[in-house]
């Protein structure tokens, strides 16, 4: 399959546009975070920084508890991911590999979870958590995040499960293996890329969640990055340098994470399902 020169040009142009669209905003933010305040708000902005300073980062790390927010975000996101996968895997297996009465209806009921705005359950959920003594706890965030990621996670597992040939399972069943063993020993390794994609989805959903974290968390030592970041915006003044440093600092951890697992996520989505 050879591409003509014209096709190559179109492809290169398309890639360039795509790269600019995705990367330029981040370049502006990251390069802005090391500019002197005067250059940041300059009427004619600069593409490359003309000044260099680390003052915004120093202010960020000396005066706000960014490392704590980071740890909280990681703890909540990891726990949410684990719980989402643990709940989604057996449910998806039952939905897509087993037959039972009411299967279709139950599956639809789960998808309906997306049919109402998160704002709706904010207040009743606050009451629920309060009664359980879970306000201002990271567990409350995990519970919320799992609830909102779960339906999509189950749906995502579907195509991966569908790609495993029935014969493999049937052979194991004839050998007398319990279903739980089949799921764990045979299915899990086969759909590992799919599980990875679901895990990354759940992780990112939790990592970016703001509304519930802003209301359910009260004390500074349990804030996640989005809420901690919103905290440095301030009511009557905006320190753009500090905000750009904060935006950069909030982006770097996920970039590192994605550098490690990103390939899995993409491969899981695009290659794992090809059968």
């Amino acid at each position: 399959m050879r591409r003509s020169l014209a096709q190559n040009l179109v492809l290169a142009l398309g890639l360039l546009v795509l790269a600019a669209l995705v990367l330029l905003p981040f370049w502006w933010v990251a390069s802005g975070s090391v500019k002197l305040p005067k250059e940041i708000i300059q009427r004619v902005p600069t593409m490359m920084p003309h000044s260099f300073t680390t003052q915004h980062f120093e202010k960020l790390f000396s005066s706000s508890d960014f490392p704590t927010y980071l740890v909280n975000s990681l703890l909540v996101a990891l726990a949410s991911t684990a719980a989402t996968v643990a709940l989604a895997l057996p449910a998806a297996y039952a939905f897509f590999r087993m037959d039972f009465p009411g299967r279709a209806a139950l599956y639809r009921a789960i998808l309906l979870a997306y049919a109402f705005p998160g704002v709706v359950v904010l207040i009743p959920l606050y009451g629920l958590f309060s009664a359980a003594g879970l306000v201002d706890s990271r567990i409350s965030l995990v519970i919320v995040n799992v609830a909102f990621a779960l339906p999509f996670a189950i749906w995502m597992m579907r195509s991966f499960l569908a790609s495993v040939p029935r014969e493999i399972e049937e052979a194991a069943l004839i050998d007398g293996a319990p279903v739980a063993t089949i799921l764990l020993r045979i299915m899990v390794p086969l759909i590992a890329p799919g599980i990875a994609s679901v895990a990354v989805f759940a992780f990112i959903a939790s990592w970016t969640e703001y509304l519930f974290a802003s209301v359910l968390i009260v004390s500074d030592e349990r804030r996640t990055i989005p809420v901690g970041f919103a905290g440095i915006i301030g009511q009557y003044q905006i320190d753009w340098g500090l905000l750009l440093a904060g935006a950069t600092a909030a982006t770097i951890p996920v970039v590192l994470l994605f550098a490690l697992v990103g390939r899995w996520f993409v491969a899981g989505l695009t290659e794992g399902a090809v059968k």
Partner: protein, 290 residues
């Protein structure tokens, strides 16, 4: 299979969990909508369907519903087009394709609050890059306010939200594209079909199932987007971007009419449920055909 209760045991944890965390609060919201609670935490009386009558008789609800439809349609159009273009590019083979496939996701993995601040700064006239860039390119002859008119405020919000979500859509479409067997294209090529024909005859029809599912899930997800709109325009200017979730939030927490907000929520949920049920039926029918 052998054990009739086993599937239920597998499904139960997820179901019970969702029922407790989402179902139960939803029931409470229904109960709330039948009372006249004002500020959160105050007492209310039972008023029957009075809130529903008030909401449905109020032009504000219908206008917000209309805006929500514009919002969903706009997002669907922009995201589908952008994602389809990006997916077709990333489906080619070229050096660095894996890198490109991984890092296109960047906008999606950053917290929404950060996305909002990034764009607020980039679009401002004090230090923002977008205005000077557009002036230089000759698109506009002087800086403009992106949130200064009704139409441009809605358009700008749709573009920002799409910027955040199109990478995810792209990967989903890419997954769909990779499932199309390469032999089909080879066969078409031998038959002398051009690039356009191959797209309209093979790619587009075979992407339909993926697009359908994305359309359903994407509609529900983007309908419920709240934080981007709230943090950038708070529903303004002059209510031009007040979609239903924004109306709900504003009624509950700024207007201090919690029960009325609950009524709007319940109506909204019913509408979305009707859509979801119809859509899942369509998906099931689609599957049965194949």
């Amino acid at each position: 299979m052998r054990n009739a209760t086993l599937p239920f045991a597998f499904v139960a944890p997820a179901l019970v969990f969702l029922a407790a965390v989402l179902g139960w609060p939803l029931l409470q919201a229904v109960w709330l909508s039948l009372q006249d609670v004002g500020v959160i935490g105050s007492q209310g009386r039972f008023v029957g369907l009075a809130n529903y009558a008030a909401v449905l008789g109020d032009g504000r609800f219908w206008r917000a519903l209309l805006r929500s439809l514009v919002w969903v349609a706009g997002n669907a159009a922009v995201q589908t087009l952008a994602a389809l273009g990006a997916a077709l590019i990333l489906n080619q083979q070229f050096p660095g394709v894996r890198l490109a496939r991984t890092w296109i996701i960047l906008g999606w993995i950053v917290p929404t609050v950060v996305v909002v601040i990034i764009w607020r700064w980039l679009l401002s006239t004090s230090g923002g890059m977008i205005n000077p860039l557009l002036v230089q390119a000759g698109v506009i002859d002087r800086p403009v306010g992106f949130f200064a008119s009704r139409e441009s405020a809605m358009t700008t919000l749709i573009l920002i939200n799409s910027w955040r979500w199109f990478p995810f859509t792209t990967l989903m479409l890419l997954a769909g594209l990779t499932r199309i067997p390469g032999e089909l294209y080879e066969a078409a090529r031998i038959d002398g079909a051009g690039a356009v024909k191959r797209f309209t005859r093979i790619t587009w029809p075979l992407l339909q199932p993926t697009l359908l599912v994305l359309g359903v899930v994407g509609t529900l997800l983007s309908f419920n987007v709240f934080d981007v709109i709230w943090l950038l325009t708070a529903g303004g200017p002059a209510q031009a971007t007040q979609t239903l979730p924004v109306l709900i939030y504003e009624t509950a927490f700024k207007g201090y009419r919690l029960s009325e907000a609950a009524a709007v929520s319940v109506i909204t949920s019913l509408l979305l449920m009707a859509f979801a049920v119809a859509a899942t039926r369509a998906m099931a029918a689609d599957e049965a055909e194949r």
